[in-house]
Symmetry: C2
Subunit: 273 residues, 2 copies
């Protein structure tokens, strides 16, 4: 960290082309910046300018607060600035832009995950991991709006991933198999959370409850639904299969997953086609 860091360097400076990096540091400038924000150990020594009135954690906390109460779509730089009592552009001193702020927010809430103790049996570890993940989705439903395909590579996100990998390793899965089962668990959890939580969440800040939503679509069921065209759905409906989210109830799903994994751990190891 020898070269001087001017404001222009710290700001995002609009995606420079591949040629214009004269230094030999790895990666792109934006990538380096966000990695530094996620991992940088200290706000480096006291420096030259005036004392900052806010801090990076403040900005992240404000973002989380707004997203928690109003949803991800309502999160704007102006609102964050307002919440902190500063001008909008001041935020760009701390954060390169909105999307990087979101990455930081995600890593920050992953820090709330209470990691399972390595001494527990693997089933309990996986179970606690799943419950904690669910709890975080429930506390911060805006996570569910995020694609989740490319999680930010932050310390807390990695802690959480490591915990699941480690639990599955204890169950006897390693390498690609471990990754596959880990993905199985995460995607099930995410899918169920999206179905259950984001309904309730959307209700909270649009004022339209899930029932009201379906009621608003009621004309469909009355006028257009064709019982002959969709016989299986009709049968499931009449059997109560859609009542309550019993089919993807969290407890049942967890049970299913664990027993499925146990079986797979017992049988195991015939390669695919």
């Amino acid at each position: 960290m020898t070269e001087p860091t001017t404001q222009r360097d710290r700001r995002i400076d609009g995606r420079g082309s591949a040629e214009d990096r004269s230094d030999d540091q790895p990666g792109t400038p934006e990538g380096r910046r966000v990695v530094e924000l996620l991992w940088a150990p200290a706000p480096q020594s006291p420096v030259r300018g005036p004392k900052p009135r806010i801090s990076l954690p403040d900005v992240i906390a404000a973002g989380v607060a707004i997203a928690d109460t109003e949803g991800m779509a309502a999160l704007s730089m102006r609102k964050v600035a307002n919440h902190l009592g500063v001008g909008v552009m001041s935020l760009y001193t701390y954060v390169p832009g909105r999307s990087e702020l979101v990455e930081l927010m995600i890593d920050r809430v992953y820090g709330e995950h209470a990691l399972p103790s390595p001494e527990l049996p693997w089933q309990q570890r996986v179970e606690q991991w799943a419950r904690e993940t669910w709890r975080i989705y429930d506390a911060h439903p805006w996570l569910l709006d995020y694609n989740m395909a490319r999680l930010p590579v932050g310390p807390h996100v990695l802690d959480v991933s490591e915990a699941l990998y480690a639990a599955l390793l204890a169950a006897g899965f390693s390498g690609a198999e471990n990754v596959a089962i880990s993905n199985l668990i995460q995607w099930q959890l995410l899918g169920a959370a999206r179905s259950m939580i984001s309904d309730a969440d959307e209700a909270r800040h649009t004022g339209v409850s899930a029932e009201a939503y379906w009621d608003s679509r009621a004309s469909f069921w009355e006028s257009y639904f064709d019982w002959n065209r969709y016989p299986t759905m009709a049968a499931i409906w009449e059997a109560g299969g859609f009542d309550d989210p019993a089919g993807w109830d969290f407890e049942r799903m967890l049970d299913r997953l664990l027993t499925g994994i146990e079986q797979s751990s017992a049988v195991s190891r015939e390669p695919g086609t």
Copy 2:
């Protein structure tokens, strides 16, 4: 449909309060409108005004075209209008707003799903269903940006759902069990697609390939990754478990799912806790 339908009625007219619906039709006005757009059989008889220069399918097709090439984020009403050679506000004659347009676009691309023949054995039906779904995600990656928790209730969306439910019914699953397994399949597919396709897709219109992305984060691996803090991840990495998406390769995943379901179909039926 006796009461006159003026433009003000057809337009979205800003979420009227619950009191102001004088008629006794079910659901909210917006809900009725989008349901009609999805299901209305014909553009009702020839009517009074000037001949329309474009049509609803044109608008939907333009939206799909733009989203296919530039991504969901780049889909704007202005671009759609431009693509059709009309003014922006003209679109609102055909579609209540952007979000409804997206719903219509989704149902439209679900119409590309080649439903499996009911005469095939259920495994082949599920397999073909999964391949078709994957193909559609691949052709229209912007679907993956959509939450997918609340799919639009359109005819094609329901056709696709019905096909999976029916195949699983043939496998012996009914009621809530059918729903649970159907969700399992869909969420796995969606998760895998989000991981694999949206990478490639993002690369296409941001110009940043997945390798370039990881390269841009390269400083992280060099400077910050702590092999002691993340031992399992390190082990998996060294074993090649992250190389290639072998762990969640589509074929392997499909195999895994089908055999898992078969086992579950054989064992089955011990209730949870």
